[in-house]
Symmetry: C2
Subunit: 406 residues, 2 copies
DNA sequence: TTAGTTCGTCTTTCGACTAAACAAACTAAC
DNA sequence: GTTAGTTTGTTTAGTCGAAAGACGAACTAA
């Protein structure tokens, strides 16, 4: 069945072809190696049609025949596999303290993963864009050197991003109304591929739904565990966008009206209790938080060390944090009914001590039938999740039938 | 562009035809009266194609030519209008204290709206299904008497409903694992149209997005104001379904840990404060709630009377309820970024006294740029919203290209 | 009356899928 | 070693639906 976005949007033969090319491509992605006959049987397409589609995809170097045949009765099949190598997509993740660049090929293989430090707050948007563009250009050149075509570049930013690539607001970078897409596009000298900008949580959750532990989940929520806490939401396989493009703002949920003060002026917000700075302040009271955002990894490592050493104060603090987080997770679970809520960022190393409390709170607050319900899990993708997700958005266009032209 | 649901789902000519029929149908729905040439120009379809599509739609009596022509230079156009009259869809809403039946024709005109009292908790599921089926049959007969074909019947239930029409759990009706669709189907004697069951909030929000004050909004949330409180969510123009089909469970959000006890065993849940029974108990303490759910309209009327008479206790109570509601609305607004949060059910008559507090709380808790943000509004559809939405889901199938066969 | 404009249909062409026949390549069994 | 049976993938003919453009119809303006 064909569904339509909004508005009058007629279909023609080209759409049928694109749809069916995508069907074959995705089938092979999921079932490689497989034969033409198998594709025809599974998809319901005619064998002749599949042959024609496969020929087209081989022409575009998206599929490849392998000599492999299964030794069964009858004529042996020529097996097909995805050939991701001629194309790659690039994702870049901007954070307060570092940049990450990731490139993945059409088969989903990571072909490049770089991290470089970056002084987000200390840079003007123009300087930052220059740094981002420089990293992007280096990634592009690397990809080109490997004889791959670049299909697109998507940049993840921790803040509110509008659909045209304008960063409306990014507090941890100190940005307001920065048209990052245009700036990077110009800095790259109008490259032959599309540049996009999106919210980092949106991209991270996309990465989770593709390459995470629960890859393939059509409904999942990702909680960023950085200084702030945001949620990325995949609903029915697609990112939830909202009216203005700013969903997932859960950081200032009031968890405990008598809790610690938050930067927003209220008390007991989720991120004032479970944000990484708050966790560090709670577990390591002697490390006076001076509010300056630097790389927090050393402090997080120290928190992990104390927890591992069964330091009672640390364990108690992490349990309390886990309970607060559990309240937020339970709200997400009841409101959105995801298959899983994935904890990301700095929550990952702390997960062994957070998860029991989170799960207890969730069990306690879960509505609905006894069986089933949302699970909670720590991400297995580490900090590059948003960058990987950025690259994945580019590949999604191909999977949806917009094949690169020959 | 053709988008695909999950999995291999090839497209063929029939899909192209269905898509384009739907494009024309929806264009006429939005721009009637209009000519074939106008449709062709606006949609990009060829004039000949439009003629063919229109002929098909006229054959199925979905469109009608009017004699009206615009008197401009050139050959006058034959204008087309939607002809909803030959078909109607029926929606039935089940509540703890009443049933509502609504029928709307393809043009969106309400052709029938009935309400009858109903003792939800006092009836066994079988008895209830009999009552529902009886109401459905009467509605079907009325529609048939008007020479309309029934396209489908959708039943809205306040509870968790799985995609096969099984009511997993409906606390306010006392139901568990009731296959309502099958029961009603059988009670109707296997009618020639599809019977579906869905959550009432899902259906109500659909009605809001079609026929409410904010008709056309692609992102909106509806809060049911009955004994329980649930949220229906439209995201990107489509209902949010979740993994198991049970999203929108916001009723047991903890608003005030020291608040009144809730049926779920916790204290201060949103619906223990802002559910209609809670409101009545708070404003009319002398009306001893005996837990028996009957038609609450008289009590609600009395609450309205007192508020209108500026009874200080009533005003204070409603302000407190409004604040609690505002906390819930703010969470929804920040998490989902809707264009508007619509209050439904018994909230509607109370809206003049609830909204100020809700809006104040929302303003206070809103994250994001100063300009914009979600609005709050009382529904103009009143109690039949879920029933109307049920009928609307049926019509959506037609709008999506599944035309009734000749 | 004539020129100009717009509408909607008709005819042809083209692209994409389907159905069915068929050749190719293999296994199994006698 | 031959033959029957099975499966693969291509070929050929056929169908369907949209696009393109010509064309007649119906009107206004001059």
């Amino acid at each position: 069945m064909i569904t339509m976005q909004r508005g009058p949007q007629p279909a023609d033969f080209a759409d049928v072809r694109a749809t069916n090319l995508a069907v074959v491509l995705r089938y092979v992605r999921g079932h490689a190696p497989c034969s033409r006959a198998e594709i025809a049987a599974a998809t319901g397409l005619n064998k002749a049609t599949v042959s024609s589609l496969v020929a087209d995809l081989i022409d575009r170097r998206l599929l490849r025949e392998t000599g492999l045949t299964e030794h069964r009765i009858g004529r042996p099949a020529t097996m097909l596999v995805l050939d991701g190598s001629p194309y790659a997509a690039i994702g870049i993740e901007v954070n307060a303290d570092y940049l990450t660049a990731v490139a993945i090929d059409l088969a989903g293989q990571q072909v490049l993963s770089w991290r470089r430090s970056f002084a987000g707050l200390a840079s003007s948007p123009a300087q930052a864009a220059t740094a981002i563009a420089a990293l992007g250009r280096r990634a592009v050149n690397r990809v080109l050197k490997e004889e791959r075509r670049v299909l697109g570049l998507t940049i993840g930013v921790p803040g509110l991003v509008d659909p045209d690539g304008v960063v409306i607001m990014a507090p941890n970078l100190g940005w307001h109304d920065v048209n990052l897409r245009d700036i990077v596009n110009r800095a790259l000298g109008e490259p032959g591929f599309p540049v996009a900008v999106d919210n980092d949580a949106n991209l991270a959750v996309l990465a989770e739904s593709r390459y995470g532990e629960f890859a393939g989940a059509q409904n999942l929520v990702y909680l960023t565990g950085e200084v702030g806490i945001g949620a990325g939401i995949i609903s029915d396989g697609r990112p939830l966008r909202g009216h203005r493009g700013f969903p997932g703002e859960i950081g200032h949920l009031t968890v405990d009206p008598q809790g610690p003060p938050c930067g927003c002026g209220r008390r007991g917000c989720l991120e004032a209790i479970a944000g990484i700075s708050a966790i560090i302040a709670r577990v390591l009271p002697e490390v006076a938080g001076d509010g300056d955002i630097t790389d927090l990894q050393p402090e997080v490592d120290e928190v992990v060390r104390r927890a591992r050493g069964n330091d009672p104060a640390a364990l108690r603090a992490l349990d309390e944090v886990g309970r607060a987080l559990g309240i937020g997770v339970a709200i997400l679970a009841n409101l959105l009914d995801p298959e899983v809520v994935v904890l990301g960022g700095y929550f990952v190393p702390l997960a062994p001590w957070l998860l029991p409390a989170v799960e207890a709170e969730l069990r306690d607050r879960r509505i609905g039938p006894e069986q089933g319900g949302a699970r909670v899990s720590a991400s297995i993708l580490d900090h590059g999740a948003a960058a990987t997700g950025g690259a994945a958005t580019v590949l999604d266009h191909v999977d949806a039938g917009r094949l690169p032209r020959l």
